[in-house]
């Protein structure tokens, strides 16, 4: 076997392998989006965070402005405390910004949507968002719906037989 052929072959092989690794890192994984940008943290307390996870997106009007940094439970207020890491170029949210937990699609992942208020003062790093709306838990919604229709039926007994309410 010619020495030159061997060397060219090995060179090609190694170059191809490194290119494949590079392609996996840059094109396939989320490496391009975890480049460390300057950011700051604000917190928000929720009664129920549902299926929210660390690294879930934080959006404003659908635009991703940060990610969930940490999720803790506060034993004094009995609420979940979520730390939001927001990119530094989005640093002028009003103090009365509200945070809600929504679900992307019917079965998608959960994310936090911020909605800016009208206050003249801006949120500072480390501040806590006061207005929050918890995640929608399917069982609760169905439960409320069932009780709601049962209550309606008993409130107007002449409309149907009492006790036969519900669905």
């Amino acid at each position: 076997m010619n020495n030159r052929t061997v060397e060219i072959g090995v060179g090609l092989f190694v170059a191809l392998g490194i290119a494949a690794l590079f392609m996996l890192a840059m094109q396939v994984s989320n490496m391009s989006s975890i480049t460390r940008k300057e950011s700051y943290v604000i917190t928000a307390a929720f009664e129920n965070i549902g299926g929210l996870k660390v690294r879930s997106p934080v959006t404003v009007s659908g635009v991703r402005v940060g990610r969930v940094d940490a999720i803790d439970y506060d034993m004094h207020s009995y609420e979940a405390v979520v730390s939001l890491r927001i990119d530094d170029n989005y640093d002028t949210f009003p103090e009365d910004t509200s945070a809600s937990i929504f679900t992307a699609g019917l079965l998608g992942e959960q994310y936090i949507a911020l909605e800016p208020g009208g206050s003249m003062n801006n949120l500072k790093p480390g501040d806590r968002i006061q207005l929050t709306q918890s995640a929608l838990v399917m069982e609760q919604v169905i439960g409320q719906f069932l009780y709601g229709s049962a209550a309606r039926n008993t409130a107007e007994p002449e409309a149907g037989e009492p006790g036969a309410g519900g669905l």
Binding site: V6, F13, V14, L16, G17, I18, A20, S29, S32
Partner: protein, 259 residues
């Protein structure tokens, strides 16, 4: 009765003897690895026969495995209206499991068997003892460069397999079945994590390269120096490598993705 016991005892002792020989052999090969930095040309030749010659089969199988994943994934996902997640399915299954495992199985069939046969034949034709007569350590001269070449080429082969497979899945999903191109890549990038998925896949393939190289070289080095002995050693290499790779893959997956 006693004969039965004796043969059981002999088989057990033989098994442990072989296991011990294998470990001593591994230690010897590992202690010779640093010396390989001084003789890169030996490693280069082996990289050619172990890595470059395996490239073709890895490229072709990667492409087809990716295309099949694209086709099967699409048919299942489209029932849920989730065909946009096709990229995630293809990329995760390739990067986490199929890339390292299938590349290692192909590697055992293409390169491992060749290594065993080569070294076994060297032993049968007394080339190894000839080297020892000339005060050349056969482990250093013959085994170590092959071992290093196997460990270096496995991660590269696995990465090439995964990358080609993802393009194969992309070709079938986006090119033929009409999945949206942007959704294919962006959902993939959202779900595939550099550390959890890609690094762990690379670690897996390094481990598999280590195991495949060790088994192939030891089987050759320990083969009975006859035509039949070499042929049995070659068969054992492929079978044992496949079993160990599949078993280790489960253990590694449980460790890496278990929680």
């Amino acid at each position: 009765m006693l004969d039965g016991l004796q043969s059981l005892g002999r088989a057990t002792l033989g098994f442990f003897e072989r296991l011990g020989r294998g470990n001593l052999f591994l230690l010897q090969a590992l202690s010779n690895l640093p010396g390989m930095l001084l003789r890169p040309r030996l490693v280069l030749t082996q990289l050619y026969s172990v890595g470059v010659l395996t490239l073709l089969i890895v490229l072709v199988s990667g492409l087809f495995v990716g295309m099949v994943l694209g086709l099967q994934g699409y048919n299942t996902l489209v029932d849920f209206g989730a065909e946009d997640s096709l990229g995630v399915v293809v990329a995760l299954s390739l990067v986490r499991e199929l890339g390292p495992v299938v590349a290692a199985l192909l590697f055992a069939g293409r390169a491992g068997s060749a290594l065993t046969a080569e070294i076994g034949l060297m032993k049968a034709t007394e080339q190894l003892s000839g080297m020892e007569m000339m005060a050349v350590d056969p482990v250093q001269r013959v085994v170590a460069p092959r071992f290093l070449a196997a460990m270096l080429s496995m991660p590269l082969l696995a990465a090439i397999f995964s990358a080609v497979g993802i393009y194969g899945g992309h070709f079938v999903g986006v090119g033929l079945l009409g999945v949206d191109d942007g959704a294919f890549w962006s959902q993939m990038q959202n779900s595939v994590d550099l550390r959890a998925d890609i690094y762990n896949g690379v670690i897996k393939s390094v481990v598999f390269g280590f195991v495949a190289g060790w088994i192939a070289l030891f089987e050759g080095y320990d083969a009975i120096p006859t035509a039949e002995g070499v042929s049995r050693a070659t068969t054992r290499t492929v079978v044992h490598t496949a079993l160990v790779v599949l078993g280790l893959d489960f253990v590694l997956t449980a460790l890496m993705f278990g929680d």
